[in-house]
Symmetry: C3
Subunit: 356 residues, 3 copies
């Protein structure tokens, strides 16, 4: 762990200091837990009050605030600056250099690059190709003919089925499955016949796959996760689906097969997306939404069925008013019937109708 | 990979050819990616336009179309014919014949049938019985006393807890768990006491379990997945639940304990079904539905709470109209109050009510 | 398996017998499957009719019933009594005493307590500390520096990432993942940069984690699962979230990061809870609910968005009436327009509005 002054950190992230630039910073912490030697940050306005009570050594903010007593590091994007400082002070997980274990199972025809760590009981099947500087954790399974670039990390018990292709710097977390057969059956006279799934899964550079995910291989083409896309835990991706670059899919999302998703999309937790549709670029989908139609570029949607977000927020929050609305309609109907009868007007809305 | 003429394929699937029956077919592909030597198919009307632009060597369709330029294979059920041709041309995954690895852990009291492949670091515990011609992939775990029929495939890191029973031709995908304890606790004075789960899981013939699933064992009886039922990725089945034959459960479905589901049901992705209910035969449940009551045979339901599908489609899509409906009610109330006051009628619906 | 008389069982659970106290009981079963020698119970009123047809040797009930023909064991809390009897008659899973396998991989710097079973191909990394009387099943992975108390059970293929801390009597089911990196990225100019996740996961005493779960480690603090909390299969817990003591989280729940949940909460299947909120003590959340706001103590909520349960049951079940309500509004509008026109009153609600 490194120790830096606030001034050094500001220089590192291209920010400015308000207060004592010689403040010593050893680590990062949240506003309410930080103490002397810790730097904290404000990225979510929900926590703005904690700026005034924090005991942090310094805070990263987007603009200097007179009412904050601790030294401030002013950065255009405080969360990005925080990330940079986290990497500088704490670094990413260090992987023990163990080389290739004699208790790993590596097929004679497999190729393993230089500087790889292949742990005990990891299995690499025939004709698999592992790039340089990869970490394959215990009990991970690399299927026949898998191709993996450089600097990949495959955590324990992750499974890559035969033929899958990984770019560079791909991370697959524990117990994730990549390339299992797509859920494809032809149902004939009530019996479901398995269709061979001839595609593979392609994980492009810098993809991260969460723990316990399942990314199905395609039936006729490949399932593709685009460059830099990050996928949370227990996400299910259907066969032949293509997800663009730099998307975020939060935990427990399900995307059915043969759907196309553009670049820079953010998909909230537990969202479900049907198969065979097209979702554009820069689309945001709120948690638990159910998406059943194409979505054009730059839309924000939520709800099940998903609709434009501003409308959805009002509409879905109004479900709780339904009993009251229904009562109002009944009251109106009584009144209108009375009025119509009094005036001899034939009326359409009747109490009978509203009660059926 | 086999090569066939279109005529041979038509004969194989019991169909007819329109166009050149000598067209050589090497593989199958989608309409928009297929080229010379590929056969494609139309099963989803969404793709009918692609019939006119496809560069496929031939297409499988349900009736001859004059406006399609490439040779056609006419089949009663194009998707079933496509499946048959996929199996013929591509075949299912080939499993390397490796026999029983000396790096597998097989208890002395376990029995392994003939022609099995037991891979490195697979574990077979005491008194387990494995049928003939089974494939147990690396790091799979077969618990004590598990009984498995013939021709089963257990992929890497799948776990079968003690005592589970598998029929013939059962497939369990990677990282799936079968037979873990049911989520059963007796809560007493605020503390949850674990109840022994004495049942097991029974997977009948031809069942396929998706990657990352969890199929709980029963508390007092068995959890049963009926013959030919196919379960997608990350599906959770509760303790003591019984699912009939030839069902399809798409990814991320959750079925709570002690529920009974009939035969030939299709349950969409992310559906949740409560415990202790009965679902009939031939029931279809739309994606993300929430099922809280019994469903009789042959029903199609969707929505949360789930209702009959035709009604649900109209009703759930009308949630987006709630703000407008509420405004209309308010406007009506203003009008009706005015009318009532003018005519000296006592009115039930008042602006005051609708605003509360 | 033990054999007891009904009288002995009544004494054991502090209950009373109505009928023959010498009835011999060998095991427990459900009302409709129980036969001679079986004891059954009534805890769910749904099954009250089966009391009259059961062939059980005896039944556990909360009060003596004249119309029940079989001997009765009267207990204040029949389900708790049933649990006690299940443990007495059947016991929990017995774990074969195998000691430390020579085919396990245990780092020289790891410490393993007394009376532990460490199975084949289990992996224990550097500086991990395992308490006494723990069972580590095949292919489980215990990361560097993990600390585990006494009497823990880690099932096959479960993965504990580096540094996680487990109390006593913790159970982690197969294929569960504990301590993977939180889903934390700083997005800058469209690219997602991974933030080091410096917290760990703490599982306090008596926690049980279901099969296929993913419990993320925290970014800056720890993710904590409180004492006695039981988590079902495939539950996703976000980074830095703190769940109190004695909660139940049913299968497929998702809780985003930095959320706090109190003690004694019950969270139904497939519930989604957003990040950065506070949920009080004794809160109950119905299956599939979507929770986006703080919930105070003792509330029962359901629906998406979640609202107070009594209101939610009425409101959500009324969605199916939306088409009818809309038609009623249209009819009312026609009537009111007619009335207004007749009386020369300017009207607010117009047919034109309701159709837009």
């Amino acid at each position: 762990m490194e120790t830096k002054t606030l001034g050094e950190l500001a220089e590192y992230v291209g920010g400015k200091v308000t207060g004592d630039a010689n403040t010593v910073i050893k680590s990062a912490s949240t506003l309410n837990r930080a103490g002397q030697g810790d730097i904290s940050f404000l990225a979510n306005p929900r926590y703005v009050k904690q700026l005034h009570t924090t005991k942090a050594g310094a805070v990263i903010v987007d603009k200097a605030r007179d009412d904050v007593k601790v030294p401030q590091l002013i950065a255009d994007d405080p969360y990005y600056a925080f990330m940079q400082i986290m990497v500088l002070l704490h670094g990413h997980r260090e992987h023990k250099k163990i080389g290739v274990s004699t208790h790993a199972s590596i097929a004679d025809t497999a190729k393993v690059g230089t500087d790889c760590d292949i742990h005990d009981y990891a299995v690499i099947m025939d004709n698999a190709v592992i790039g340089n500087n990869c970490r394959i954790y215990p009990n991970a399974y690399i299927g026949e003919g898998v191709q993996m670039g450089d600097n990949c990390i495959i955590y324990s018990n992750a499974v890559l089925y035969d033929g899958c292709k990984l770019g560079n710097r791909v991370i697959v977390n524990a117990n994730a499955t990549v390339g299992e057969d797509g859920f494809g059956y032809a149902s004939y006279k009530g019996v479901h016949h398995k269709i061979p799934q001839t595609g593979v899964v392609v994980l492009e550079d810098d993809v991260e796959i969460g723990a316990g995910c399942g990314i199905e291989r395609g039936t006729l083409g490949d399932t593709v996760i685009g460059q830099g896309t990050k996928i949370g835990d227990m996400v299910a991706i259907g066969h032949g689906t293509k997800i663009g670059a730099h998307c975020l899919l939060v935990a427990q999302v399900g995307v059915a097969g043969s759907t196309t998703i553009g670049n820079h999309c953010v998909i909230g937790g537990q969202v479900g997306i049907v198969g065979h549709i097209n979702i554009g670029n820069n689309v945001m989908i709120g948690a638990q939404a159910g998406v059943i139609n194409d979505i054009p570029d730059n839309k924000i949607v939520l709800g099940a069925p998903a609709i434009e977000a501003r409308q959805a927020k009002r509409a879905y929050s109004m479900i709780q008013n339904l009993p009251e609305m229904r009562q109002n309609i009944r009251n109106l109907t009584v009144d209108v019937e009375k009025l119509c009868k009094m005036l001899g007007v034939e009326n359409e809305a009747t109490e009978k109708q509203t009660k059926k």
